[in-house]
């Protein structure tokens, strides 16, 4: 990249089941305002704003019409990545790296008061997949099923991911679900789409998250404890599920390769101190371990059982509680980046991983798509 980029401000709302006293733009405004306050910047000091989200899911055509002005973008250069906020983050990084802007604000929101099954069904072609009932959750279940079948992953092994992340969320005041659950609770919860049970799936949360980014000389003038962008990569899978190896995540592996190459990471388990992974289902956290190069194919569950990814482990994963505790429809990926920033700047509070200097954030641009097909990996460092 041409210019160096750092995250200098983080803002998030408290995430909850509904925010009936706030309109869409009130929620976005709250997160954006907190991010600006965190960076101690006035809204006039933001040069460009990148919004995110899916209009069809929001039920609002051109949602950036209200998101951008709510996030300090009035009369500014803006855009919207019609993706999870993690890709709006990627776009903001490119805009800053190009040297065209000094500061950027990225905003993502979640408004899934209603189940997104119908709007994720119309992602699919009307001829083959749509009549079959394909949706985000049913295609995720196909992947989970293929993965469990290929490597003999048991429901209990997957449930251990939920138990870990829900326990972590207890320490995160912003998380939506802050009550711990046991492996027993998970495997006894009602089935949703085989092999996924209710607690294997994330909740639907309402909230927003915003990040302030800066580049060049501007960074040092804003603050000293920033999270430097060390590497970023993203990729998307093909459409045809029938042509895919459903037990692995090739686009995540491709995104990872790009991010590690940019960050010069050779041994991720040794070099990373903490990770926030898009655990869109319990099985997908295990699959992500493998695509991220931390375990051999099929070795994800063992990594968890050995405690490597638990609190106090060699590479704690989702100390914030992850997506299984807070699921902002179009903001879950960006929230992973926000949490990674808090970790490397030592500001994560009760869920801080001691001495974290290098963090990885993984976001799935999930709600728009068959299975976990669009992936983005971000590596952030204190140095």
């Amino acid at each position: 990249m041409v210019g160096r980029v750092a995250v200098v401000g983080v803002g998030q709302t408290y995430h909850e089941e509904a925010k009936s006293s706030q309109s869409y733009y009130d929620v976005a405004f709250e997160a954006a305002t907190k991010a600006l306050e965190d960076a101690a910047l006035d809204k006039g000091e933001i040069d460009t704003v990148i919004a995110s989200g899916w209009d069809v899911a929001d039920g609002r055509t051109i949602s950036d019409m209200y998101l951008v002005p709510a996030a300090s973008g009035y009369l500014k250069d803006s855009a919207k990545a019609a993706e999870d906020g993690v890709l709006a983050f990627a776009y903001a990084c490119m805009r800053l790296a190009a040297g065209a802007f000094d500061t950027a604000l990225v905003i993502a929101h979640g408004h899934t008061e209603h189940p997104p099954e119908l709007v994720s069904n119309v992602v699919f072609d009307p001829f083959f997949f749509r009549p079959m009932g394909a949706s985000t959750i049913t295609t995720l279940a196909l992947q989970a099923c293929a993965y469990a079948d290929k490597y003999g992953v048991t429901p209990e092994q997957a449930a251990a991911v939920v138990a870990k992340n829900r326990r972590n969320a207890v320490d995160n005041p912003y998380a939506h679900l802050r009550s711990p659950v046991s492996v027993e609770d998970v495997v006894r919860s009602p089935p949703v789409a085989w092999p996924l049970r209710a607690l294997d799936c994330p909740p639907r949360s309402v909230g927003a998250v915003a990040l302030v980014l800066a580049t060049g000389e501007r960074i040092r003038r804003i603050r000293s404890d920033v999270a430097w962008l060390r590497g970023i990569g993203w990729a998307v899978d093909g459409y045809e599920l029938g042509a895919a190896d459903l037990w692995r995540l090739p686009s995540l592996a491709a995104a990872t390769a790009r991010a590690y190459a940019a960050a010069s990471i050779k041994n991720p388990l040794d070099e990373l101190d903490v990770a926030e992974v898009h655990d869109i289902t319990s099985y997908h956290e295990l699959m992500a371990y493998e695509a991220l190069g931390w375990a051999q194919p099929g070795g994800g569950a063992r990594l968890l059982e050995e405690g490597v990814t638990g609190r106090g482990g060699k590479l704690p994963v989702n100390p914030s509680g992850g997506v299984l505790s807070t699921n902002l429809h179009a903001g879950s990926g960006l929230l992973r980046v926000a949490e990674a920033v808090l970790q490397v700047t030592g500001r994560a509070g009760a869920h801080q991983v001691e001495g974290a200097r290098m963090a990885l954030a993984h976001g799935v641009s999930a709600a728009a798509g068959p299975a976990a097909a669009g992936n983005c990996v971000v590596v952030l460092g204190r140095d």
Binding site: V2, R60, D64, A79, E83, A97, D125, R258, A373
Partner: protein
């Protein structure tokens, strides 16, 4: 300073009310393969894809996923793909996205592709109505045509523009589109015919309004190292940008002037070092979904003084033979696959600079301007393309 970036390839599709001869991915493939052929590269040469569409107008959610194989072509999957949607400006915003992908230094060759099947929308104006606030503004039917009608009424009231002026805009654009094999509406009519056409939203008649079109467009951006190898005459990006106006229409009351576009134009001209746009720009592709908007755009873009836009139509300044031809393609008025229309403006401007616009070519184009508006007139994008690298 950002890395220098140029457009090296363009692919357009035939557009019509309903392209029922192709599936959605086939429509996208038509544009992508034409663009790849235009600069004689295979899909493997593409480092990243930027995709633009306005999903609610397709009745689909995230069509880029269904069409991903058509973008990347077989054997080139697991590439970076970023979807951009900003309403009518989607195509312009996606072009900016392609520019920044390359300018950042992260990618050398980037495919920007936009598509829309408005033909499959039950009622585009109803869909657009969901853009505005459900409490204050949705009820009075705000959409594209109603907002344009307010612009027209206001311009007529303050500046004396007439229905005949609007008819002349329509006639000029339809004259141009008859030279464009990729345009949707390709018939000519007279001012009298236009004035006798059906009233849709006073004072806008059928002849003042764009069609609903199915179509796609692809444009390939390349770095300064790659561009000269991929195109004989690359179209270099001299400046580009977007602007965001207030969300509430009640907060932007001056409908007779397009202030947000005027502000953006000043920024872009400063970046491009353009002092006198009328003299220094050789051709402009403006996004005029409604005739009145072409007049407002002349004024906001500094082609003339405020209130004098209609004069440029009347004296032929913006005709194909004039000093500053506008919309040689016929513009959005003759072809509107919404999410692709902004990128088609960029593509047409690039073709003019590259000297490949065929029957609609303006002679000796050095500098071209591409514009788009969207979001019930809340967003604008501009891109200045040039034969000379900046």
């Amino acid at each position: 300073m950002p890395r220098r970036v140029a457009i090296v390839g363009v692919g357009l599709t035939r557009c019509s009310s309903w392209r029922r001869d192709v599936s959605y991915p086939e429509l996208v493939y038509e544009a992508v393969s034409a663009a790849l052929q235009d600069c004689d590269i295979g899909p493997d040469a593409v480092d990243a894809v930027v995709y633009g569409s306005m999903d609610p107008f397709d009745g689909l959610n995230a069509p880029e996923r269904w069409c991903v194989d058509a973008c990347a072509s077989a054997g080139a999957l697991n590439k970076p793909l970023l979807k951009i949607s900003t309403g009518g400006t989607t195509g312009g915003s996606a072009a900016l996205g392609g520019y920044y992908h390359v300018a950042s230094g992260m990618f050398d060759v980037v495919l920007v592709v936009c598509s829309q099947r408005v033909g499959e929308t039950l009622d585009a104006q109803r869909v657009l109505n969901t853009a505005v606030d459900p409490v204050y503004e949705r009820g009075f039917g705000a959409g594209a045509i109603t907002v344009a009608a307010i612009q027209a009424t206001s311009h007529m009231h303050y500046y004396g523009t007439t229905e005949e002026d609007l008819a002349m805009v329509a006639v000029q654009n339809h004259e141009n589109s008859s030279n464009n094999p990729y345009a949707h509406l390709r018939f000519k009519f007279t001012v009298e015919d236009a004035l006798n056409s059906r009233m849709l939203s006073t004072p806008l008649r059928l002849s003042d309004c764009c069609p609903s079109s199915d179509g796609a467009c692809a444009v390939i951006f390349a770095s300064e190292e790659k561009a000269p190898k991929l195109a004989k005459h690359p179209a270099w990006v001299r400046a580009c940008g977007q602007i965001t106006d207030n969300y509430f229409m009640g907060d932007r009351p001056w409908a007779e002037d397009w202030d947000s576009l005027a502000i953006l134009a000043r920024r872009i001209y400063r970046l491009a070092k353009i002092d006198n746009p009328r003299r220094e720009i050789d051709v402009a592709e403006l996004y005029q979904a409604f005739t009145i908007q072409q007049i407002l755009e002349y004024e906001a873009l500094g082609f003339c003084q405020k209130g004098e836009g209609a004069k440029l139509i009347r004296d032929g300044t913006t005709s194909m033979q004039g000093e500053l031809p506008v919309d040689p393609s016929g513009g959005v008025l003759c072809n509107n696959p919404i999410g692709a229309s902004g990128l088609i403006r960029v593509a047409e401007a690039a073709l003019q600079v590259m000297g490949k616009a065929e029957q609609r070519q303006v002679p000796n184009v050095k500098t071209a301007l591409a514009h788009a508006w969207g979001a019930t007139i809340g967003f604008h994008t501009l891109m200045v393309l040039d034969k000379q690298a900046p």
